[in-house]
């Protein structure tokens, strides 16, 4: 494992070192030490690297990730793994708001709680939260899966498109056009697969499924006067 000391190199130095690796480079395992809550750590990676960040991080950690497997050994600030395309980001602690915002692919695992707007406008990412999520999670979520092992706060899945939400605990309230849906066998299979990938031990049968009623985002002739 190769160590990058963020206090010595700065965020730009650390990120440049990871961006500059030639394809197929031998050094694949990296440890970023002294993150000190700085923003944009390990952003824009595009190689099959294993990156461990030894501490708490600030905003947008692991943003735009492709291929890399990033583990944060602590708390993650706002917008962790935002716009991730592929790979994996794992937060060992909790995450602040807008985790996985607009992410297109890959897997985001938050072992603790995620704050408000988790998975806002997600476009294909799979997000597994070991704890609970804050209000307006899954807002305008377009595609992908949001799995919540704890509770969900108000307005879950407001204005949701085709993303699928699974919640094991209590849901304080559903947002506009979000409804509970039947848990069919294929959903149980997919949920088991996601929990397994996230390495979280939970019974898929104990979750409920939520998704779009599809009444909001389709044009309805009765609403023509509103435009």
């Amino acid at each position: 494992m190769t160590e990058l000391d963020l206090q010595k190199l700065g965020v730009r130095g650390v990120n440049s070192a990871l961006h500059g690796l030639p394809e197929g480079a031998n050094a694949q395992d990296w440890l970023i030490s002294n993150p000190m809550g700085q923003h944009a750590i390990a952003c824009g990676l595009d190689a099959p690297l294993k990156v461990t960040i030894d501490g708490h991080v600030g905003f947008y950690c692991g943003g735009m990730n492709q291929q890399a497997e990033i583990t944060i050994q602590g708390h993650a600030g706002v917008g962790v793994a935002e716009n991730m395309m592929s790979g994996q980001v794992r937060v060992k602690g909790s995450a602040s708001d807008s985790a996985g915002a607009t992410a297109h692919g890959g897997l985001l695992v938050i072992e603790g709680d995620a704050s408000s707007r988790c998975g806002i406008s997600m476009k294909g990412v799979d997000i597994v939260v070991g704890g609970s999520v804050g209000h307006m999670s899954g807002f305008m979520a377009q595609s992908g899966h949001l799995v919540v092992c704890g509770d969900a706060s108000d307005a879950l899945g407001d204005s949701i498109y085709e993303a699928i939400v699974f919640v094991r605990g209590k849901v304080a309230g559903l947002g506009a056009d979000c409804i509970e849906k039947e848990m069919r066998p294929e959903h149980l299979v997919k949920l088991a697969e996601l929990l397994d990938a996230a390495d979280i031990d939970a019974d898929p049968g104990s979750f409920r499924r939520y998704g779009s009623a599809r009444t909001l985002y389709n044009f309805d002739i009765d609403n023509a006067d509103a435009y």
């Binding site: 000190m36 809550g37 700085q38 923003h39 501490g55 708490h56 991080v57 600030g58 905003f59 602590g74 708390h75 600030g77 706002v78 602690g93 909790s94 602040s96 708001d97 709680d113 704050s115 408000s116 804050g134 209000h135």
Partner: protein, 300 residues
């Protein structure tokens, strides 16, 4: 934008280092607020019969000594003045209302930025690091401190418009966000006798809390009333003589993070302001929930 920070020491052994621990928190938030900075520090509580005022002057050649002498003669009282940059801390046994009235009448150019038994408030336009240096924050001791770095949106970049805002004894408040009903609230509070020095929205929030505390509410209950009546976006960090509180609006629009160890509780807009504190790595860290009041010390 704006950055807010607060540090409440649970372990009295840390009190000698309050300033050294707190100054880097304020400086780390420079990117969020380079226009002005300020902090309130709770230290050296005065006797029951005394009041401590923090006074500020925009005139560099203010003769603080003659101010002290004139006050003593006018109100037949004791008065001690310690000068800190362009601020001075006045400790007097005169009636606090008489003191303020005397100041307003004879020294209208002097602003009272804080008053109480232990609070001292220092604020100035310019970069946080310069404000820290001017008021010698690093060497300061105390039990808790609250600070603000400002990127002005709702009112002008002036020392008077800098946070923290204090309108009542030992109470101060810093704010990240903007209030939308402050003019309406200000009119009501003024009718009830709260005096405002600026057009700033945050000063209204401080005045609101002062009014509620004067009515006999606890800090916690005053904040609960704030959740109902203050409209807008806010993350507040509030200090009283022996209490510390954090509150966010119902939508959680403005960033905030809390960290707690056995020795301290810290609040900041961003975690990086907390990262250097001893034991931060192992602290419990969480984002305070919207519409929820967090308090430490004597707040109930």
């Amino acid at each position: 934008m704006c950055g807010i920070v607060g540090l409440y020491l649970k372990d009295p052994n840390l009190q000698a280092n309050l300033g050294a621990l707190f100054a880097p928190m304020l400086i780390e938030m420079t990117d969020r607020g380079p226009d002005s900075a300020g902090f309130a520090i709770y230290r050296n509580p005065v006797d029951q019969h005394q009041t401590k005022f923090t006074l500020a002057s925009d005139e560099p050649d203010t003769d603080w000594t003659s101010l002290g002498t004139a006050l003593k003669n006018a109100l037949n009282c004791q008065a001690r003045l310690d000068v800190h940059g362009d601020h001075a801390v006045l400790v007097t046994d005169a009636d606090p209302f008489a003191t303020q009235a005397w100041l307003a009448e004879t020294r209208p150019q002097i602003r009272v930025v804080g008053s109480g038994r232990s609070i001292e408030i220092f604020k100035q336009t310019g970069l946080p690091k310069d404000v820290v240096e001017q008021f010698k924050l690093v060497g300061a001791h105390g039990s808790h401190a609250i600070g603000h770095t400002r990127m002005a949106t709702e009112s002008a970049v002036t020392t008077a418009g800098s946070h923290p805002f204090a309108t009542g004894l030992d109470l101060c408040l810093v704010h990240n966000g903007s209030l939308s009903n402050h003019n309406h609230l200000r009119r009501g509070l003024e009718r009830s006798g709260i005096v405002f020095q600026t057009e700033n929205d945050t000063e209204v929030a401080a005045g609101f809390m002062t009014m509620k505390l004067r009515q006999g509410l606890s800090l916690h209950a005053a904040l609960e009333a704030g959740l109902v009546e203050l409209d807008g976006f806010y993350t507040f960090c509030v200090g009283t003589a022996d209490g510390f509180a954090v509150m966010r609006d119902p939508f959680g629009c403005k960033h905030a993070v809390l960290a707690e160890t056995e020795g301290w509780v810290a609040m900041a807009t961003e975690y990086r302001a907390i990262a250097h504190l001893p034991g931060a790595d192992a602290a419990e860290i969480w984002e305070p929930e919207p519409h929820k009041i967090y308090t430490w010390g004597s707040a109930h």
